[in-house]
């Protein structure tokens, strides 16, 4: 009989509950705006979850700039060994390699590549945060970094600092 069974009551009215979790509200908006793009290639829940995750990733990037650890244009090359887990016992070797890398960054990268390399590699800025700061896209920033990595490795291989032992990769 309709209305005879127990009724479940939400802990908080829906709009308020969603509003208490801004990322969830933004994710819901993002999913709602894309409903027409669902093509049935996967379960709906998987497809919808994807956009919720993208929204959280983007939000983490936006939040980074509220309390950035370092300015975007700082260049602290002394951080490089820590960033790549250099062995202190081999300081002489990695100092030589770090100096060669720095020369390559100065000589072969165009300004945009250098800016992205410094922010992500030296300053540890999350890629999604850099996307927000530069008003770009994850794909565009990653492409800039991809090209920078390829150029730098090519120089370090040519100068004998790294091995070219993987045909097809550069």
């Amino acid at each position: 009989m309709p209305g005879a069974g127990p009724r479940l009551r939400p802990v908080a009215p829906w709009p308020r509950a969603i509003g208490q979790v801004p990322a969830a509200a933004d994710a819901l908006m993002a999913i709602t705006g894309k409903l027409g793009q669902f093509r049935g290639e996967s379960r709906f829940t998987t497809w919808a979850c994807k956009f919720a995750i993208f929204e959280v990733s983007a939000k983490i990037g936006r939040h980074f700039w509220r309390h950035p650890a370092v300015p975007l244009d700082a260049e602290d090359w002394d951080r490089l060994p820590d960033r790549f887990g250099a062995d202190p016992a081999q300081e002489a070797e990695w100092r030589d390699l770090a100096a060669a890398l720095r020369r390559a960054v100065d000589e072969v990268l165009i300004p945009r590549q250098r800016q992205v390399f410094v922010a992500i590699v030296l300053n540890g800025v999350p890629l999604d945060a850099l996307v927000v700061e530069l008003g770009s896209s994850r794909n565009a920033i990653y492409k800039v970094l991809f090209d920078a990595r390829r150029k730098l490795r090519s120089v370090l291989v040519a100068d004998g600092y790294l091995r070219d032992d993987c045909p097809g990769n550069s």
Binding site: K50, S137, Y142, R149, R150, R153, N169
Partner: protein, 73 residues
């Protein structure tokens, strides 16, 4: 030579890399293949290369896989 393997790995680029946009476009399909135990990497080598190389894309993949497996916190 090559006493800094982490730097070496970072500077390597994979020509099969599909790019963030293409990888994220098909992420839900890729995740369900992985979840079902199908050879996702063989079917989408460009996406697999991207997920290995791009930290944020890899994190999104891990997050979505955890969500569909029901083991997300």
């Amino acid at each position: 030579m090559n006493d800094w393997p982490a730097l070496d790995r970072f500077l390597r680029t994979d020509p099969r890399d599909a790019g963030c946009d293409q990888a994220m476009e098909m992420l839900h399909v890729y995740v369900e293949l992985v979840e079902a135990g199908n050879p996702a990497e063989q079917r989408y080598p460009g996406i697999a290369a991207r997920l290995r190389a791009c930290g944020p894309c890899g994190e999104d993949f891990e997050g979505l896989l955890a969500a569909v497996r029901g083991d997300a916190d």
